[in-house]
């Protein structure tokens, strides 16, 4: 206490120029000024040089008509749409691959990671071989392998593999019937929302009751029953308003229905199978980081191996797993930019590829593209940090 006071008094006595706070502030202002100046100089210089070389610049090109087609679009798009629209088409395609890839990679990764620790010799060896083989082969090669291996082994549209005339598989993709919602279909949606709310409420109630009385309520099966049952009842009550739009072979290709293009399948497979190897190692490390005493203690309390893993080991392992897992999610998202190699129309392919080439505005297009990847990465990080905070050890 006394020391602190003398330091404070000393700080009052020194001249402002020697005040560490003012000095620190001054250094920071100078640093920021330098950065701003460098940034300005960089942009100014680039603009000047572009002008000198007669290269068009500015963001006006985003309003121009694109004039080219894209094989997979999640939003309405035609050749008459603008380059700005192309950007959104590409962005959504990237997000679609990233989200599905992350989910798949996580599932495969957790299964394989746990399998590597299995006492069953065959299972653990198979998992080890998978991890060591796949993570040591460059992703681009795997991408080509999955795309061309899958493509070459599939028949042409006229000789499609089919299931009862409604589901088709050929080298143009995977064709499913598309549900078409008629009048009254809104009731099904309402039923689904009610079911979700009810499931959450029941889970909350069951938790409270278990805390109070120790009795376990089968939340999972009740939830499944609600989520499937309620919409089904609504479907019947509303007079079955949903019809199916089947894919039909017309000319060269199938028309109508829901279609998954082979490029998408190839990319998702390659990304998730590759990233899953790293996730498997992270999961294995996380589980090994939990002291074996925890498992023994759990067994001695009478918990079986399943609940022990689920309730004791995994929650503690998650704290070790989540931070490196975030990096893997970011890697997967960024690796999805390899899509262009196999013609999947992601952001890099259609926007930083075709649009850049049509307009020649490399600086603007790449700036936008980099900002998008930065944004996607930051959003993923934020979410994972929030989840990490939730999973963190709560001291009471």
């Amino acid at each position: 206490m006394a020391g602190a006071r003398t330091a404070e008094e000393a700080a009052k006595k020194v001249a402002w120029i020697n005040d560490p706070r003012i000095r620190g502030l001054a250094y920071q202002i100078v640093l920021i000024a330098i950065i701003v100046l460098l940034g300005y100089e960089f942009i100014h210089n680039a603009a000047l040089n572009l002008e000198k070389q007669n290269i068009a610049s500015g963001f006006g090109f985003l309003k121009n008509t694109s004039g080219f087609a894209i094989v997979q679009t999640l939003i309405d798009y035609s050749e008459e749409s603008s380059y700005g629209r192309v950007f959104f088409v590409g962005l959504l395609n990237t997000i679609l691959v990233a989200v599905i890839g992350i989910v798949l990679a996580t599932v495969i990764g957790f299964v394989v990671g746990i399998a590597r620790l299995s006492n069953n010799w065959v299972i653990s060896r198979v998992a080890t071989v998978y991890v060591e083989l796949v993570r040591n082969i460059p992703l681009l090669l795997q991408l080509f392998f999955w795309y061309f291996a899958v493509l070459r082994s599939l028949p042409n549209p006229r000789q499609s593999l089919e299931i009862s005339g409604s589901v088709f598989l050929n080298n143009r993709g995977f064709f499913l019937p598309k549900p078409v919602f008629g009048e009254g279909a809104g009731l099904i949606g309402i039923a689904l929302i009610v079911a979700i709310v009810a499931t959450v409420a029941i889970r909350f109630w069951a938790h409270r009751r278990q805390d109070r009385t120790g009795r376990i309520f089968p939340v999972f099966w009740t939830g499944v029953g609600l989520l499937v049952g309620l919409p089904l009842v609504a479907f019947l009550v509303a007079g079955m308003p949903v019809t199916l739009d089947y894919s039909v072979l017309k000319g060269f290709n199938f028309v109508g229905g829901l279609r998954v293009i082979p490029e998408f399948v190839g990319l998702v497979l390659a990304l998730s199978i590759y990233t899953a190897t790293f996730i498997a190692e992270i999961v294995r490390a996380g589980i090994l980081a939990v002291s074996h005493g925890q498992t023994e203690a759990s067994y001695s309390l009478g918990l079986r191996p399943g609940p022990t893993l689920r309730l004791v080991v995994i929650p503690q392992a998650m704290r070790v797993i989540i931070p490196p897992l975030t990096s893997q999610y970011l890697n997967l998202t960024k690796n999805s930019s390899l899509a262009v190699a196999i013609a999947y129309p992601d952001l890099v392919s259609v926007f930083a590829g075709t649009v850049l080439n049509q307009t020649g505005q490399a600086v603007e297009v790449l700036l936008i593209t980099m900002l998008v990847y930065l944004g996607l990465s930051l959003v993923t990080s934020l979410f994972m940090n929030w989840y990490n905070a939730r999973m963190a050890l709560v001291e009471r």
């Binding site: 960089f42 942009i43 210089n45 680039a46 040089n49 572009l50 000198k52 070389q53 007669n54 290269i55 068009a56 004039g67 080219f68 087609a69 894209i70 094989v71 050749e79 080509f144 061309f148 493509l151 070459r152 599939l154 042409n156 080298n171 143009r172 017309k250 000319g251 060269f252 290709n253 028309v255 082979p262 490029e263 960024k334 690796n335 930019s337 390899l338 262009v340 190699a341 196999i342 013609a343 129309p345 890099v348 392919s349 930083a352 590829g353 075709t354 850049l356 080439n357 049509q358 307009t359 020649g360 490399a362 600086v363 790449l366 700036l367 593209t369 980099m370």
Partner: protein
């Protein structure tokens, strides 16, 4: 990802390197002792490396001809293989001195990229290749087809125009590299492979059974292919432009790599001016008077490089067609050396 990094580096270079690519490419080239020429990584007949790393093709020969004109030595050229996406940025940033990579001369490329096309080495047009087994005889029967092509090219836009103007639905699958386009088409991902007709002849050779595929008669676009240089460097622009003209003029005058030494003694004033025995036309482009002699002697005239790389006696077997001299009903025409 690698491509993205390359592009980013290129973008940053644009920002930082002040005017690395300023006036005076000819002086720069003379100083460093070789020409850096951007070419296609693999298009038989135009630009293709063999297993020993020797490049062959029309586009490659144009680079060599410029080297012959500048240095009197066809080996003083280094090749940079570039994808369709990278090519113009590589030229803009000064990574290469000239681009000779089957690039179509279009208005937007000529006016908004800061580049100049120096002439037309090959008059091409976009065509379609399909499997014979489909029984298709005209491009107008392709309604609903899947089309494989390369991204970052004029072909993507031409396909869109063609199918839209004929009210035919279609699907386009665009790959970054040509080899993947060919593989995907071969694997049956697409019914149609579309690119410049010359390219289709070249790529048909890469397929498992070239005989099973047919190139449809329709040509849906004009694709004048030519070398490209940076805008605002007239000296270098003239060198590349006149290299091409010299080759066409040589063919027109009957000067070939074999008879060029005899032709030097010719009394024909046009030949004398071309080969530098009369007048001082090399001075105008800051080169020696034997610039055109070197081109013809070391590389050949236009007809020679056409026949050697893509002509009827090569695997590609393309006839002169539009690329015949104007005197023979084609479009190849060069202003006179005078």
């Amino acid at each position: 990802m690698k491509k993205a990094i390359v592009s980013v580096v290129v973008g940053v270079t644009l920002g930082v390197a002040a005017t690395a690519a300023s006036a005076g490419t000819l002086d720069d080239v003379k100083a460093k002792g070789f020409i850096q020429c951007g070419v296609n990584p693999g298009l038989p007949g135009f630009s293709n490396p063999d297993d020993k790393g020797n490049w062959t093709g029309i586009d490659v020969d144009v680079c060599r001809a410029v080297a012959a004109a500048v240095f009197g030595d066809t080996t003083k050229v280094k090749f940079t293989p570039l994808s369709a996406k990278e090519r113009f940025t590589a030229l803009q940033t000064g990574e290469i001195d000239m681009l000779s990579r089957n690039s179509t001369w279009t208005m937007s490329r000529d006016t908004s990229l800061g580049l100049n096309f120096t002439g037309i080495t090959y008059y091409d047009g976009q065509g379609f290749m399909v499997r014979k087994s489909l029984g298709v005889t005209s491009a107008l029967e392709l309604s609903g087809a899947s089309v494989c092509t390369q991204t970052g090219t004029t072909t993507e836009l031409n396909i869109a125009d063609f199918f839209r103007s004929n009210n035919m639905p279609y699907e386009i699958v665009a790959f970054e590299k040509n080899d993947e386009v060919v593989q995907a088409y071969d694997a049956g991902r697409c019914d149609v492979h579309s690119t410049d007709a010359s390219g289709l002849h070249a790529e048909r050779l890469k397929l498992t059974n070239p005989g099973d595929h047919v190139i449809l008669p329709e040509i849906i676009s004009k694709e004048p292919l030519g070398p490209v240089v940076r805008q605002g460097d007239d000296g270098w622009f003239n060198v590349v432009k006149w290299t091409l003209f010299a080759m066409v003029n040589a063919e027109e005058l009957g000067v070939t790599s074999k008879n060029v030494d005899e032709m030097k003694a010719s009394e024909n004033p046009e030949i004398k001016r071309l080969l530098g025995t009369e007048g001082a036309f090399g001075e105008g482009i800051a080169l020696g008077n034997d610039w055109a002699y070197n081109i013809v002697k070391m590389v050949g005239n236009y007809g020679e490089i056409f026949d050697a790389n893509v002509g009827p006696d090569t695997p590609l077997g393309i006839s002169r067609g539009l690329n015949a001299l104007w005197k023979n009903g084609g479009l190849q025409y060069a202003p006179p050396v005078r």
